[in-house]
């Protein structure tokens, strides 16, 4: 199949043996092709990827490559049950989804003779449990692990654990040159401020120049210096700038665009038109001001539409500079020959101190430079403002290939949520449970198993105490409650919180959200959420990404509460709560969490379906936080676009009357907005009036 030697070896092993395979090759070396071939040979299987975005990308790739196969997707956005699993050939799943399906799908090994685990080095706790379950319960399932960034010491450790053959591709098909840019302030002979800039490659100076005045990091001068040096050399390939924070990303994009404008660069008319067509959102001003000069920004705070737009422009090579945080840093293919780091330091969790970024993260980010589809060389530029910075960069980032693998299953909250599922699979006493954990990568490293047995005994006592299990013939047997917990992957405290709220007939949105958030905060000591995070998600719900100064932790907590609400819905159905209560709960609690207490959405929601609500929340940006009367004309057009522009026809019916009413405009004005949105979207649409409405 493949062009590289390691791909040929992997292909041979896939065809001639039934062993597990661990593929380790640099970023951009085509590991995915090995995974695809494993699935093609087996005809059925699962592809596990760590993030929603990667799952979606792989799902699209698999569908394109195997048009005759039934390919399905299971992640936070797309649910996938046992029946879907059984009736499909190829499934792309997040680890969480597959872990729970493994406890409930029958004939797993027949349905999925191969499981491909992408980015296996990230060692998500669910991945570790999945792999252990496969090895103990379905040893005939072939595991194919893919990774670019495994620490040398971990290769044999992981291979031994998986009993896998290791296939290594040492060479990156596109060479990557690492350059440290040293900025040193000084005075010239006349006493004027200057900055000496030196470019080091392997510790050797390969370029240098002098900048008049001070290079101010806050002003993004260092990034401008690198970009302009690249452009001065005649290289106009796209540059990807990485920075850890969204607001900083916006600032960089605006600063570079402004310097380009001040230096006489004319706006690109096509890009200007794209920028003008953008509706207003929290980060839209940045895009509007930067895009015309070929500068894009891409991060999780943008609306889905903005992200897709910037991605497509970048992919088409229309942008000279793309500033990103993590969204484009992992697993994506863009034509960026240069990756420039704004900084290699970020804040430690819950601290005002910074520290060097994780080595594996650094490798992932620099790996975006010089992709085989687009380039024959890649450059990574790292700024050093002091000799101390340089020492850290050289001794840590440039000397190490990856961070060591760290198991994250040693967390009692996580383990307690896994135990019911394990009991269901036959690990039905503390010793057997400890035996299972002993078979994990973490457990294998333990010298003394007794603390583990004690921990399992503690969890078992907890399950007995809360009547999730009972002992029969010295075996642990799950009660109905325990079986529900196993099926849904719930921690006992999560189950009890949901049951307590539901059995009291609670329909109070705030009480539900606060209680579910508190379960995590109170029971998982490793979580470091603040009270302010809880307030934010009560106020904004899933739209917390639009909240001014929303934190990463608040977004993580919102995701957790959303998952709990999904599981609550399942639990209410399984437990047979009456339909009227469930219907009201869906409306007053679950659906409301999509938009929290945002006035605009509170008024619009009764007139909209769930998908329409989600579309507005994902795409509307900061306009979400305004009351309807404060919306600008552009924002109203954008609402019309999101609600109606994808349709072939628009009918002024009862629902659209209600929408107009909620927005405080007349139905005729809504029609005009829809027509304007259509014109912008350049799609033909028939508009008609429903007299009955």
């Amino acid at each position: 199949m493949g062009a590289f030697e390691y791909q040929r070896i992997a292909s041979k092993l896939l065809r001639e043996t039934s062993r597990n395979i661990l593929v380790i090759a640099p970023t951009g070396a085509g590991k995915t092709r090995v995974g695809m071939e494993a699935l093609a040979l087996a005809g059925r299987g699962c592809y596990v990827a760590p993030t929603r975005a990667l799952c979606y990308e792989k799902f699209k790739e698999l569908r394109a490559k195997f048009p005759r196969k039934a390919v399905v997707l299971g992640n936070k956005d797309y649910s996938l049950g046992e029946r879907d699993f059984a009736h499909s050939d190829l499934r792309v799943l997040t680890p969480f989804r597959l872990n729970h399906l493994l406890s409930s799908v029958r004939n797993f090994s027949r349905l999925s003779p191969v499981v491909v685990v992408d980015e296996i080095h990230s060692l998500d706790p669910d991945v570790e449990i999945i792999l252990t379950k496969l090895m103990l319960l379905h040893p005939d399932v072939r595991i194919v692990g893919l990774s670019a960034t495994i620490h040398e010491d971990d290769e044999p450790k992981l291979a031994n654990w998986l009993n896998a053959l290791v296939v290594k591709g040492e060479e990156r098909p596109v060479p990557l040159v690492e350059r440290v840019v040293r900025f040193d302030p000084d005075l010239d002979e006349a006493g004027r401020e200057i900055t000496n800039v030196a470019v080091l490659e392997g510790g050797r100076e390969v370029d240098s120049w002098v900048v008049d005045g001070e290079v101010v990091i806050g002003r993004c001068d260092h990034l401008w210096e690198v970009c302009s040096r690249i452009w001065e050399s005649g290289d106009t390939s796209p540059i990807l700038i990485w920075t850890p924070y969204r607001l900083r990303a916006n600032k960089i994009a605006r600063a570079i665009a402004e310097i380009l404008r001040n230096r006489g660069k004319a706006p690109d008319p096509a890009l200007q038109a794209v920028a003008d067509s953008l509706p207003s959102g929290e980060h839209t001003p940045t895009l509007k001001s930067a895009l015309p000069y070929g500068v894009g920004v891409h991060h999780g705070g943008l609306t889905q539409r903005e992200r897709e737009l910037v991605y497509e422009l970048a992919r088409a090579g229309r942008l000279a500079v793309i500033v990103t945080c993590l969204t484009l840093a992992q697993g994506v293919n863009l034509p960026a020959r240069h990756v420039v780091f704004d900084t290699v330091h970020e804040y430690e969790d819950g601290s005002s101190h910074k520290r060097l970024i994780d080595i594996s993260l650094f490798r992932q980010i620099e790996g975006r430079a010089g992709r085989p589809q687009f380039d024959n060389i890649g450059y990574c530029w790292i700024p050093a403002f002091t000799e101390v910075d340089l020492a850290e960069i050289e001794e840590i980032l440039l000397k190490h290939k990856a961070s060591p693998l760290v198991s994250r299953i040693y967390n009692e909250f996580f383990l307690a949520s896994q135990v019911p599922g394990l009991v269901l699979l036959g690990f039905d006493n503390p010793e057997r449970l400890a035996g299972f954990i002993r078979a994990t990568l973490w457990g294998q490293a333990l010298q003394d198993i007794q603390p583990l047995v004690d921990q399992m005994a503690r969890i078992v006592s907890y399950l007995l105490e809360c009547r999730a299990a009972e002992i029969r013939d010295e075996r642990l047997v799950l009660t109905w409650k325990g079986r529900v917990m196993a099926r849904l992957g719930l921690h006992p405290a999560e189950y009890e919180a949901i049951e307590r709220l539901a059995s009291s007939g609670c329909l109070d949105y705030e009480k539900w959200v606060r209680s579910l958030a508190r379960v995590r905060i109170d029971n998982d000591p490793s979580s470091v959420f603040q009270e302010g995070d809880v307030d934010s998600i009560v106020e904004y719900g899933l739209a917390v990404h639009s909240a001014p100064l929303s934190t990463y932790k608040a977004r993580e907590l919102a995701d957790y509460v959303q998952r709990m609400l999904d599981l609550s819905e399942a639990l209410l159905a399984i437990a047979g709560y009456d339909q009227a209560y469930r219907a009201r709960w869906r409306m007053d609690v679950s659906a409301k969490f999509t938009y929290g207490k945002l006035v605009l959405m509170e008024r619009l929601a009764p007139a909209l379906g769930r998908d329409q609500i989600k579309r507005l929340v994902r795409n509307l940006g900061q306009a979400l936080t305004k009351p309807p009367e404060d919306l600008s004309h552009d924002e109203l057009v954008e609402i019309a676009r999101l609600l109606y522009a994808h349709r072939r026809s628009f009918r002024l019916d009862k629902q659209s009357h209600a929408v107009a009413d909620a927005l405080g405009i007349s139905p005729e004005q809504l029609v005009e907005l829809v027509q304007e949105a259509q014109k912008k979207a350049s799609l033909p649409m028939e508009v008609s009036y429903d007299d009955a409405a």
């Binding site: 006493g191 101190h353 520290r355 994780d358 002091t386 000799e387 850290e392 001794e395 973490w442």
Partner: protein, 121 residues
């Protein structure tokens, strides 16, 4: 700023920081409390490369100090030859300090400090 001597030592107003670097004394006025506090710890030898967080603090402090121009420099010992606004020699002294600390950083990392940069179980 006024400097006067008491028992042979200079006494300065409280908002002026005295930095003894190599064979010189620099009198600094630092507006930002955090930098001032860190600079004091650095010059007293209390801010040393012993963790990734402290190494970042050191680098950040040096970066901030480079933006400051001392009010006065004196030669040590003897507190001789006062020079006003000695920016060039301040940058030179900081460069030397930076190089010394970088050497200590490398030593710290090579002598096992690398583990501090790696995630642990």
């Amino acid at each position: 700023m006024r400097i006067y001597r008491e028992n042979g030592q200079p006494v300065v107003y409280s908002d002026v920081l005295l930095a003894r670097l190599f064979d010189k004394a620099f009198f600094l006025q630092i507006g930002w409390d955090k930098t001032r506090e860190r600079a004091e710890r650095l010059f007293e030898g209390k801010l040393v490369p012993s963790s990734p967080g402290q190494i970042w603090e050191i680098a950040d402090t040096i970066r901030q100090l480079r933006r400051v121009t001392p009010l006065l420099a004196l030669d040590l010992p003897g507190w001789r030859n006062p020079r006003e606004n000695p920016r060039r020699e301040w940058l030179e002294a900081l460069r030397r300090l930076d190089a010394e600390l970088a050497w200590k950083v490398r030593q710290f990392i090579q002598e096992g400090g690398v583990a501090e940069y790696l995630p642990s179980d």
